[in-house]
Subunit: 243 residues, 2 copies
Amino acid sequence: MITRKDAATFFTRGYEKYLPHVSVDCVIFGFHRAELKLLLLKWKQANIWTLPGGYIGRRESLEAAAHRVLRDRTGLKNVFLHQFHAFGSTKRKEASIRKLFGILGLPVSRDAWPLGRVISIGYYALVDFSRVRPQADYLSDTCAWHAIDERPPLAFDHDDIVTKALETLRSSLDSPSLVATLLPERFTMPELQRLHEAILGRPLDRRNFQKKMLDRGIVERLAERRTGGAHRSPFLYRFTTQT
Amino acid sequence: MITRKDAATFFTRGYEKYLPHVSVDCVIFGFHRAELKLLLLKWKQANIWTLPGGYIGRRESLEAAAHRVLRDRTGLKNVFLHQFHAFGSTKRKEASIRKLFGILGLPVSRDAWPLGRVISIGYYALVDFSRVRPQADYLSDTCAWHAIDERPPLAFDHDDIVTKALETLRSSLDSPSLVATLLPERFTMPELQRLHEAILGRPLDRRNFQKKMLDRGIVERLAERRTGGAHRSPFLYRFTTQT
DNA sequence: CCAAAAGTGTTGCAATTACACCCATGC
DNA sequence: GCATGGGTGTAATTGCAACACTTTTGG
């Protein structure tokens, strides 16, 4: 978690700890009420929304940086992050960054290192919406979920990054390891289907979906059913541990 | 093309022109005598082979940087480059770089900026072997093609980069735009097949291959045949311009 | 005429798609 | 009992892989 003190030293001596000009940005997808959600940060006292992102430590691997940045800026831990693309934005607006640091009451020298051009490596992940408590860091007012197609416009080139991440996510849906992290240990077939539909943004045929999941050995049925709901009680399933 | 003068000013004031800590590396595939080739540079008077790579200009897009670096270091122009992955190597060996610059008779101060850790964005391309004259730059002895599985061991993490590029190339073979650049305007079906086989590293069925290419509308047959060779004269084909 | 390369067609399997019917549950 | 959602099956289609036969060409 970034504190006030961290932020204060960031502009003056951050380059000692971090590589300038390279950052990671995380596109975090969640799933709630049959909708795909996106985790966004709102800058303090400014109507600027961005992806959680940050710089890379001088001796830190890209992967490790992505995990640390995500934890520091949103509180999320133990997330499966996947690199998907590098973005060479020359759009970074000095003015926005100056404004934020003005609001925070922190000094920004004229040639402060983070005002320069930044190349950003994009990572995405799917996380279990209900098991996560997003927490804004010192730089932000809010860390909150947004429905994927009702999100506010994002700063810099972050809208492009989200678009590309969603594309990648959709095309990698056939590997079950990803979606496994979004559901509880045991789940019903309709639940799994809602999740796939939310990610793909289109409806799927119930019967074909079930057949595919079972034929491919992606999930296996348990003896138990989920009772209590209206209508017929659905079976419970779980992901098979094998490949 | 990098000259002696460029190299000399590179270590001292290069950071004014380029972003430190971020580079692009190009994996250039060629095709000759039914073999997939790889374009490599050998450092001057040292047995160190690397991919053509370089730094990114401060106001230059990633894409533009990849094209410029490739041209400067190998002489190749007008190549379709595709970004495929970012590599966060912490393996960069100071010693190698000092050695090269020692050989070149160029001074390297102790805290020279290019000695630091580098994050590299990988680009790959397929080029027409016969239309290209690779030319080594000032930093290199040799700029030469190597058969993909007889290449020398590469420095830094460049072997990983090649592996990943080859993976990406293979999985993107169904989009014809890539391979189109490797063949002349008009070509025979066997020629196209050899190319696919070289990329995939395995033989393909002649008949199924032909059917697929024609059914999908990837190529269309011309009236003409290629005469002069032994055996039956094959038809000529060309890529369809649509989609 | 024959070896080697090129052109054409058939068949079977597997995955995907579309669609129809039966079962359970709460109101 | 009936609307709603959940479970099962079947036929048509598509893409891919395996395989056999005919045609052309130079030697």
